[in-house]
Symmetry: C2
Subunit: 220 residues, 2 copies
Amino acid sequence: MDSLSSTEENYLKALYHLSVESAGREGVGTNELAAYLMLKPATVNDMLKKLRDKKLVNYEKYGKIHLTAQARKSALGVIRRHRLWETFLYEKLEFTWDEVHEVAEQLEHIRSSKLIEKLDKFLNYPRFDPHGDAIPNAKGEIEKVARRTLAEAGIGEKCKIVAVRDNSATFLQYAMKVGLGLSSEIKVIAKQDFDGSLEIEVRRKRSVVSQKFAENVFVL
Amino acid sequence: MDSLSSTEENYLKALYHLSVESAGREGVGTNELAAYLMLKPATVNDMLKKLRDKKLVNYEKYGKIHLTAQARKSALGVIRRHRLWETFLYEKLEFTWDEVHEVAEQLEHIRSSKLIEKLDKFLNYPRFDPHGDAIPNAKGEIEKVARRTLAEAGIGEKCKIVAVRDNSATFLQYAMKVGLGLSSEIKVIAKQDFDGSLEIEVRRKRSVVSQKFAENVFVL
DNA sequence: TAATTAAGTTAGGTATGTCTAACAAATGAA
DNA sequence: TTCATTTGTTAGACATACCTAACTTAATTA
């Protein structure tokens, strides 16, 4: 049970995210993973062999990739570290919503279990990160929450943002421009049947957002 | 002015520390640097060529190694990050004196100037780290403080620890066993001319420490 | 000053993680 | 059902950062 390199951790994390996103489909493919990691399929293929030898993925030539139970736990460990650091950056260092991800991407690879448990305590054991995503616990367990998107909300409904699907800076900056932040109250004013776009009101400010945007906002 | 790899940063930091320690001598040698970094001289020699090509060191075959002004600034940047993280770990996360170094050694390589400036602010612009070492400012300037070691203190004198020379866990754990912490008051009870060892009293507890130990404790 | 030792260098090798170019298998549309 | 397209694989290269073994230069001391 030797420890993983940052690169290996990134592969496992990517595989975890992809397997959650594509729940229903039968697994993750080489090209899909390569695109996600912004690497070439050949590179990913090489690494896959290594991960298979280390018993971190089940995968055979031309087949789909599946994380082993052990690797899934490791992936959740990385995600735990990532989300705790995001919470730290947002709550303690006053980073904005869209700035936390990039730095957390580096911090998540610091190897020290003591560090992460102390950080968890310092942050008072947060359950969600600044994007509303659940933080896995030290045992590698993650809360599963059924979520509804803004796109599913009815006209006149008031709802509260609990999370976003897309953590890219582009999306988050757009969200901020519209006036959205975590815990913002949104009121649905109108809905276009034609393209699914919505008129919404956030802090007395009205905006029109596309269906695509609305599908990326989870509400309660 | 491309950015440095973690490895390169470690070389520059090491060279800075060695050049400060050996102030007076004419420079740092390959073997000395290799021993400090726990690498083989051949490895260091390779890297030195690379650093020379990047104009980070002045050095010619069989000669001594000197940091360029630019590299010195980079080294101080790394030291700044290291010491700010140590302060964070000690003050906010309740790490002990001897635990901070190892983790800070990893955290110092996180690349984000925003992060470090926000951290500095969060810590309320500390001037010294938990070992009493000055924290360089954002411009790469460091306070020079003339220091006296415990070994130079006279019998009957009371002094206060302001820093330690050796940050190894071994030394720090020994120091804690003797009852020393930063800001501890020490009283010198007796001194042996024979081997320079001292009898000291810290928080009503008496201990005998060697001259070597005393030379590693800076006092005011 | 010549011989020995210490310090520094070179050549060639390894592992990790990336790439391109060429090829093979699987999929799906005509 | 065949053939074009997509998907995945292999082989060979490269950069980084390490190593060992053999060598050279410099320093020390007898």
